[in-house]
Structures are given as C-alpha cells and as structure tokens.
C-alpha cells in the first residue's frame, strides 16, 4: 500500500478559505471586547478553555472571558514577548518546568503588559473582575490562584471560584449520579457566588441560551472535523488551529454557532468539489497535544514531503463533542432532546454533556485515548501518528507514552518528537525537523521537487 502512495504525485486543486478573514475579525474583536469591557459597564473574567463559560453568561451579555490557554498560545506565537514573560516568571522564583501557558500568563501580569491577537503589546495588563475556573489538570486551579496572588501584590483584589471536575471518565457506562451532582452542586453554589461578587442579578434565560449555544457549537465543530475524512482533506491542522480557537474562546455565544454553521457549509462545498488543503497531499497524518506555537512552520516543511496533518484528538476533541456508536465508529454527538428551560435543567444538561469530553479521558485512562486515536486513524484514513511529547503541558502529555505503546501495538506507524508548546528555548527546531524528515524517508517518502 505504501509504495502505491509514493508514486502518486497527483496535484489537487486548492483555494483559500473564504471565511478566513471573518474568523480573524471575530477573534480580534473578542480580545478587544475583553479589554474594553469595563469602559461600558461590562464585566471581565478569567478562566480556562474548559471552564463552564455558559454559567457567567447568565450575568448578562456584556460579560467577557480572557480564556487562559489561547491567550498563552497567542503569547507563545510572538517569541520575543514570550522570552520576556519567561524571564519575569523565573526572576520571581517559579521553576521553568511549569506549564508554558501558565508561565506566559503570569509573565504578562508581572510585566504588566497585554498582547493582542496581532502581536501589538500594550501597557497595563487588564485585571479581571473575577476568576471562574474548573480543575482537572494539576495546574488548573493553581494557575489562577497564583494569578490572583500576583494581582494582590499589585493591590488588586480578584475573587476566585473553581469547580472540581476530576470525577473520572465514563468509559463504558455513564458516571454515577453522585459524581454528576457533585459538579452540579458546585455550579449552583457558583451562581450564588457570581451574584455576590458582581452585585448583579442572575438571568436563567440567558443561562439556558448560553448552554444551548455551547451544545450546538461543540457539536458543529465535531461535524466540521468529520468532513476531514474526505480524500483530499479539505482542511489541514495548521488552518484548524485558527478555527477551533473560536470554540475555546466563546463556545457559549451565538456568534460562535453562526461562524461554525457558515464554516461547515464552506467545508462541505470544498469536499463536494474535491478542494484540498494541501495540493500535493499523499501521506495523511494526525498529531497529538498542542503544537510548538512558535514553530508552526514545521507543518510547511512536512508539506514538502506531501505530508498533510488532518488534525488530532486535540483539535477534534478539546472542544468538539463526540460519541461511540454501538458499531464502534466515533461520530459527532447527537444534540440533547430539548433546549433547557430552567436553571436546574440547564446545569444538569451542560454537566452531562461535558463530562465525556474526549480530551478528559486520558487524565484517568490511557486506553480510552488510545482507542479514540485509533478510531481517528481508521475513519480519517491516516497513515501515521506524530505524537508531540509536549514538555510545556503536562496535562495533555499525561500517559502519552502509554498511548504510543497502544498505537504501535495496533500496527500504526507512530513517531514521537519532544518539544514545548510555549517555551521556545526548549524546542530544537533543526533537530526535530531532521528527525521528522528521517521518519518520512523511512516511510519511503521523498522531498517533492517544487
């Protein structure tokens, strides 16, 4: 099978994504809304991409979240600003082995600087009105506990609430009720806490709206990723990083649902017309964990060998919601039967919807993640898996060595490379590229003459 691939040098038609600029605008405006929230009476809050962002939405539609991880990634993309952040964090005495996003975030507080999506750096880091986080990775709760401590040293008091979701993963059967209720009870208390710290009333209608948007957006993103099963693949992972980010920033907002509906239509059209993301696609791979954000050019280098990355459990399952059909196929999750009408229904729905998030499985069961990776390899027709052993994120790298063993045992070629998503000092680009190209050559691929 391998030899047939090598000789095929068919060139597929390609064209840029029409929706691309709209995505850029949406992201830029999102960060500006966060920055200027206080100017027109709005609220700013800080929390992670997995935080229950639909809950604060009940405080009003002028409530904006910074979402720590994408902000950490944006910082990582601009290498010299990242270097300053790391220097400030190490000068404050924090070990450099900690999560790279977290260090970037703390660094911008210590430097009192704020970087926008296009790289412009402005003075005084915007202090959030409150922190609304959830905890599954060791660094989740403490990320904002220390951010709060750093703000306090600058004389600013930031109240913090953090929901513990480390209740396990529903591998074969749903989670027991006491686990679901443990999270629901924390969210219930959380709403009372939000009212207390913001002095605002809480609107359950807005909550139900936000929950339903989140459910639709996370299902839509999964449907878009499923389209990448087509040969040639309509999207490549490097592009998808800029598209899935909407889901991490504002999965509970209507603009996100609208954006993904439009994107899905465009990608379906590309599949119909056989439009490829990479013209010389001939070797389909999937990756794992976040990429080295400062070195995305590595994807362009791979394309010189006709290698396209279709995505990963990371890009598909960090935000996208999926389920296994009885026949073992992995498909986008079905929408719940009805839109929630009361607070109680909304909380129960969002917790039950969220607890089997694919990227929460590996925190407990390496086999669960290996199974999903192998389903993607099979259904998306991937030829190999590139595992980014990401020193910058212990949360997504936990059990990754076990995943490698599982993938290898299933006879799928797998190539691990070490790096760091957010600390450019720890990513040896030349060395990694040499090893990656050696792997491609050992798979019989040659650099294609331009």
């Amino acid at each position: 099978m391998m030899l047939k691939k090598m000789t095929q040098t068919k060139e597929y038609p390609t064209e840029p994504l029409k929706i691309w600029n709209e995505g850029k605008q949406l992201r830029r405006r999102y960060y500006e809304d966060y920055l200027n929230a206080n100017e027109h009476g709005g609220l700013r809050w800080a929390g992670g991409a997995w935080s229950f962002s639909a809950i604060p939405a009940g405080l009003g539609d002028d409530v904006y979240c910074i979402t720590g991880e994408p902000h950490g990634a944006t910082i990582a993309f601009f290498k010299d600003f990242t270097a300053k952040c790391h220097e400030a964090v190490e000068a404050a005495g924090f070990p450099r082995t900690l999560c790279a996003y977290m260090r970037n975030y703390w660094g911008s507080i210590l430097l009192d600087k704020y970087i926008l999506a296009d790289g412009t750096v402005i003075d005084n880091h915007p202090t959030p009105d409150f922190i609304w986080q959830d905890h599954i990775c060791c660094s989740h709760g403490k990320w904002y506990q220390v951010a709060k401590w750093l703000e306090e040293k600058k004389g600013k008091r930031v109240p913090m609430y953090c929901v513990d979701v480390s209740v396990g993963y529903p591998m074969d059967k749903p989670l027991e009720d006491y686990k679901i209720n443990y999270i629901i009870n924390q969210l219930d208390d959380g709403i009372e806490w939000l009212k207390k710290v913001t002095g605002r009333e809480y609107n359950d209608v807005l909550l139900c709206e936000a929950v339903w948007n989140e459910v639709k957006a996370t299902k839509l993103w999964a449907e878009i990723c499923a389209l990448n099963q087509a040969v040639p693949a309509p999207l490549d992972e490097k592009t998808m990083y800029s598209l899935y980010v909407m889901g991490t920033l504002m999965k509970h907002r209507p603009e996100c649902v609208a954006f993904y509906e439009k994107l899905k239509a465009e990608v379906e059209d590309r599949v119909r017309r056989g439009i490829a993301a990479v013209g010389n696609e001939r070797f389909r791979v999937i990756t794992d964990t976040q990429p080295p954000w400062g070195f995305l050019k590595i994807f362009r280098e791979m394309e010189k060998y006709g290698v396209v990355s279709l995505g990963s459990l990371y890009t598909y399952g960090l935000i996208g919601m999926w389920k296994y059909r009885p026949d073992g196929s992995w498909i986008p999750k079905d929408l719940p039967p009805a839109k929630p009408k009361t607070r109680e229904e909304a909380l129960k729905l969002i917790v039950e919807w969220t607890v089997d998030r694919p990227e929460w499985a590996h925190f407990y069961l390496p086999e669960a993640k290996t199974k999903m990776i192998l389903s993607i390899v099979k259904q998306w027709k991937a030829d190999a898996v590139l595992l980014h052993y990401n020193r910058g994120c212990e949360g997504l790298s936990v059990h990754i060595a076990e995943n490698r063993l599982g993938i290898q045992k299933a006879g799928v070629p797998v190539f691990p490379f070490e790096g760091n998503m957010g600390d450019e000092r720890e990513f040896d680009f030349t060395g990694t590229l040499a090893r990656l190209t050696t792997f491609f050559e050992s798979m019989g691929l040659k650099k294609m003459k331009k």
Binding site: E87, E90, A91, G93, R425, E426, D428, T430
Partner: protein, 293 residues
Amino acid sequence: MTEQSEEFWRWREYRHTDPDKDWHDAKIVTAGVDIGSVGSKAVVTLDGELYAYSVMRTGGVSEETAIEAMNRALEGTGLKTDNVHYVVGTGYGRVNVPFAKRTITEIACHARGAHYIYGPTVRTVLDIGGQDCKAIRCDEKGKVMSFLMNDKCAAGTGRGLEVFADLIRVPIEKLGKTSLNVEEEPPPVSNTCVIFAKAESVALLRQGWLKEKVAAAYHLAMVNRIVDLLTRVGIEKDFVVTGGVAKNTGIIFRLEKSLGIRPLEPKLDPILAGAIGAALFAKALYEKQIGLR
C-alpha cells in the same frame, strides 16, 4: 590521526609578590586558599593587606594542589606555611586544604573579597567560576544577605568557555576580544546545553560564519543565562564581577549592555576574590583567637 591538538582551553598560571611589602614588619600574617573546580588560588595577607598570591590549574588531587598553590604564593618571600598565623580554606575542594584551620564557603569569601577589591559600595557580586556561577547580594561590610547558584548547566560557566575556545581554536585569554570584533550582534546560540551549544556553533561555522560572529553568538547565549540568575537574586548597585571569567571583556561588555548597569573596574585580579576573602576571615579568626577581637 588527529592534527597536533594545541590546547586552546589551557590558560596561563602565574604568581606575584608585592615588592613594597615585607612580612617581617607585619603583626598578623594570614592566608586564604581557594580550591576551585577548575582553578586554584592562594593569597597571603599582611595585617589584612594583599601581599603575595598564586593562580594555577586545579589538579586531580586537591591536597597536592592546595600545598602547591600555597608554596607558589610563598615562593621567594622566605615565609613558610607554618609561619602563617591562620589559614582559611574555601572553594570546591576546601575540605582538602590540609593546613587550613577552618573552611568557609566561597559564597561568603567572594562577597568579602569583592568588598576588599571594589570597596564598600558593592551590593551585588557575580562570581563566574569554572563549574558554576554564583550571584550574591551583600551589605556594606561584604556580608552575604542572599545568594543563588547555577551549576546545573556549564553553558554559563568558565568550563563552557574552555570547551568553546577549544572548538573555534582561539586561546581562551583572547576569546573575549574575538567575540567583540563584529559589526553587529548575531542572534544568540539558542541551546541551553553546552554540548548542544557547541554542536550549534559548529553548524554555524560550517554555514560560513566567521569565528568572531560565532564567538559573539556564544557569549550572548552565556550572558543571557547569567542574567537569568542575576535577575532571580535581584541586582542592586554597585555591581561587580569576580572569578576568572571577569577578565573576559566579551562577557563584561554584554553583561553591562543587557543589565544596563556598568560593573566596577577591578583594581586587582578578580580571580583572587575568594582567596582574599578567606585570608581576611583568617585575620578576623586569628584576632578572635588571641583575644584582640
């Protein structure tokens, strides 16, 4: 099979006696012996003033090095080790100075020695030693307030420079100057590990970079690492550099540029700071012993 390999990493050993001083007039004769991981220094002081010293490479057995360093310092003065009232050992091999009555760490000695060499305004001392690099905050008397050490990576140390001098075949004493004659600073060698930094430098040479440019890139990477340590301990003026690497103009120039603070000019050999500090502590200990203090 390999060409005659001149050892570019080996630096010159030396000794010195102050011609205007005579130990016969002195009330208290004390000495400090600093057995470093790469270099060893012995200093003799008369009533707290520098009289004679020696600098040599640390050998495999530190007792022998300590005796040799002391003998070289005393050479030609007529003094013998047992005439010295009190000796303090410091440095990596301080426990192996047979004739030392007491040992004190090189952290305390470098701070005290820097106070002697540069004066009471010193508040931050950077000692770039053979195997490690120490950042020390001290008070107006040269007493240590806080300190940090980096010996996790030899890239920020004298050892890293020796490896590099060997690589680009430039005598270590000229390395600093070589790294300075470039039009503009190239990007620093990125790797944190000295061996990888070396491999990367070889790659740069093979891409046709001139020795001077590669030296500049390596020195910049080294200074970045040292600045990391200094910022963690916090820098307060006046700032001084001690240890052998203080004579490398390439490091000092870039430190000043990166920190925005000019290190004070040493009026005598900064490599002696540890041994001088030890000798001064020896004086204080002797005074205590005979009830003078």
